[in-house]
């Protein structure tokens, strides 16, 4: 049976220092994060001991080309909600804590936005009058520079990687019909004037089917093999093909449907061969086809639309729910995912505009189309490009997304709580609670361990190699009963 699809999202945000002339994005990102962290009680640094981004899931380490850069000298903090908040590639980035299902990801991803917003408010206090740091949750600067919103899913190590690639690629190529955040124009070479509006922020930037890169020649399926847990039992599928979503429904569907398809791949129930003849071209073709009417060529010679590919996966998922159950993705959440998936595909087929209160690309398309019509603008008018960017502005008073009143799945109170509290359901609970209780005695933390400094003893590392151990059910009582970190370590036998 498929293993639980522990999952999370890491988002690199666009950043601008306004009113300050030419700014250094690394300095602005550092200022932003430091302003937030210094407003909290204590700061715990990230520990790079077990990082190995050069490991490849196909079974080798990259030697010829350098592994992806890890900027160890930059700001890097672990938060009491179990998240990591850091500077990466000249962007502020938050990785959510490990979550058990798509709904939890929605809540902690929304909490991450609120942390960025609180950071902007803290940073403005440190800046000269007239200056502010502004953060955008998008994936491109419209000039060919892209930054990512990556997803991560726990997979059973015994599943052959080739089966994952075959099963997931047609899904990744076509899921953008509901996960896309929408973009005016295209940044792919030679496409600028051909495309007025496309479904996805990211499709322009993908050049390979499978590979290890994340910043150049981006692949549809990324092979980074860095499980951050027991490598004998698990892999972490690192997904780089998605857009950052403002819409909670889009995030819920993105993570929920992907987790479900991965569970089906683990249980080997995908029977129909949907391999595409040209996945990279199909990814762009799908993104450029706002009418969703064009067909994609399958490797077996048939042709199929993106919507039909999604119906095919949905049909498999509906059968899978009956034959195998949905425990791997959360029984209730999995059922919600399947219902919404069907509703969204039905609406996309009948009249996409009815989804303007649910999906990012539709909301953006509706807004920009109406504005364009009112003022009789061409698609290359800078006002539309500006609105495209401003849709993703995280400041509530400036965000165009906020004006569109999209459906919420999270509650305000649970989002505020998730800014400081970890999920109850994964090892993030142990990490977050230890940081709350004994933050000043934790020297370093990373996904799979905590390092304690309790006075005269040597540093003690507590390994957390099982993503589903260290939940509230496992350790809440233990943590409550321990008066000191030393007592905790003693009882853990660390």
């Amino acid at each position: 049976m498929a293993i639980p699809k522990v999952c999370g999202i890491e988002t690199e945000y666009g950043i601008v220092l306004r009113g300050g002339g030419d700014s250094n994005p690394i300095a602005a990102s550092s200022l932003l994060i430091n302003a937030y962290v210094s407003s909290l009680h204590s700061k715990v640094d990230w520990d790079f001991e077990d990082e190995s981004p050069g490991s490849d899931a196909r079974g080798y380490n990259v030697g010829g080309s350098p592994p992806p850069e890890v900027e160890t000298h930059l700001v890097n903090a672990v938060l009491t909600n179990g998240a990591r908040y850091y500077v990466d590639h000249a962007h502020p980035e938050i990785s959510t804590p490990e979550c058990l299902d798509a709904r939890e990801v929605v809540v902690w991803d929304r909490a991450a936005e609120q942390i960025l917003l609180a950071s902007m408010n803290a940073a403005v206090q440190l800046l000269p009058p007239g200056q502010e740091v502004v953060v955008y949750k998008n994936n491109s600067d419209r000039k060919g520079n892209s930054y990512g919103c990556h997803e991560n899913y726990l997979m059973d190590r015994t599943v052959p990687f080739g089966r994952i690639v075959t099963g997931i690629t047609p899904f990744f190529v076509t899921r953008q019909i509901f996960t896309g955040a929408g973009k005016v124009g295209s940044e792919a070479p030679g496409m600028g004037s051909e495309v007025s509006f496309q479904l996805s922020q990211r499709a322009d930037f993908f050049e390979e089917e499978v590979g290890l890169e994340t910043t150049l020649k981006r692949p549809i399926v990324n092979t980074r093999d860095e499980p951050h847990c027991d490598p004998q039992k698990y892999r972490r599928l690192h997904v780089i093909v998605g857009d950052a979503n403002m819409s909670e429904v889009a995030t819920f569907l993105k993570v929920g449907t992907t987790a479900l398809v991965l569970a089906m791949i683990e249980d080997d129930v995908l029977t129909r061969d949907l391999r595409l003849a040209a996945p990279v071209q199909s990814l762009r073709r799908t993104s450029y086809d706002v009418e969703m009417s064009q067909t994609l060529d399958l490797a077996n010679g048939d042709s199929i639309t993106a919507l039909e590919v999604q119906w095919e996966y949905l049909t498999h998922a509906q059968k899978y729910a009956e034959t195998h159950g949905l425990e791997a993705v959360g029984t209730q959440v999995g059922g919600d995912v399947i219902r919404r998936w069907e509703q969204v595909l039905t609406a996309l087929e009948a009249d996409p505009m009815t989804l303007a209160d649910q999906l990012d690309w539709v909301a953006k398309w509706k807004l920009l189309s109406a504005y364009r019509e009112r003022d009789d603008l061409q698609w290359d008018d800078p006002r539309l490009a500006a609105m495209d960017l401003q849709y993703h502005d995280l400041r509530p008073q400036r965000s165009l997304f906020a004006r569109m009143n999209l459906e919420r799945l999270s509650g305000d109170d649970e989002v505020v709580s998730a800014m400081t509290e970890p999920p109850l359901t994964t090892r993030a609970y142990f990490r977050g609670k230890c940081l709350q209780r004994w933050g000043d005695q934790i020297m370093a933390a990373n996904w799979d361990s905590l390092v304690f400094d309790v006075g005269n003893d040597p540093l003690r590392r507590v390994p957390m190699m099982e993503p589903l151990k260290g939940t509230a059910a496992h350790v809440d009582q233990l943590i409550r009963e321990c008066a000191t970190a030393s007592e905790l370590l003693e009882r853990l036998g660390a």
Binding site: A90, G148, E308, W311, L367, A370, R374, A385, A386, R403
Partner: protein, 63 residues
Amino acid sequence: MAEREQIRKTTPERKEEVVEAPPATEKGDKLKAELDDLLDEIDEVLEENAEDFVRSYVQKGGQ
């Protein structure tokens, strides 16, 4: 299209799409008025100089 029909056969549980009558004029007018109000509201918060804003929004490439 044969491909499409074949897929439809595999999903008999799907509800048929209900084709709704076009919205009454009154409702259509209301929606348009709401959208007009939204666009007016958006005019208030849009970046003042769209061209400068778009030009100066430059990011380093990331992952």
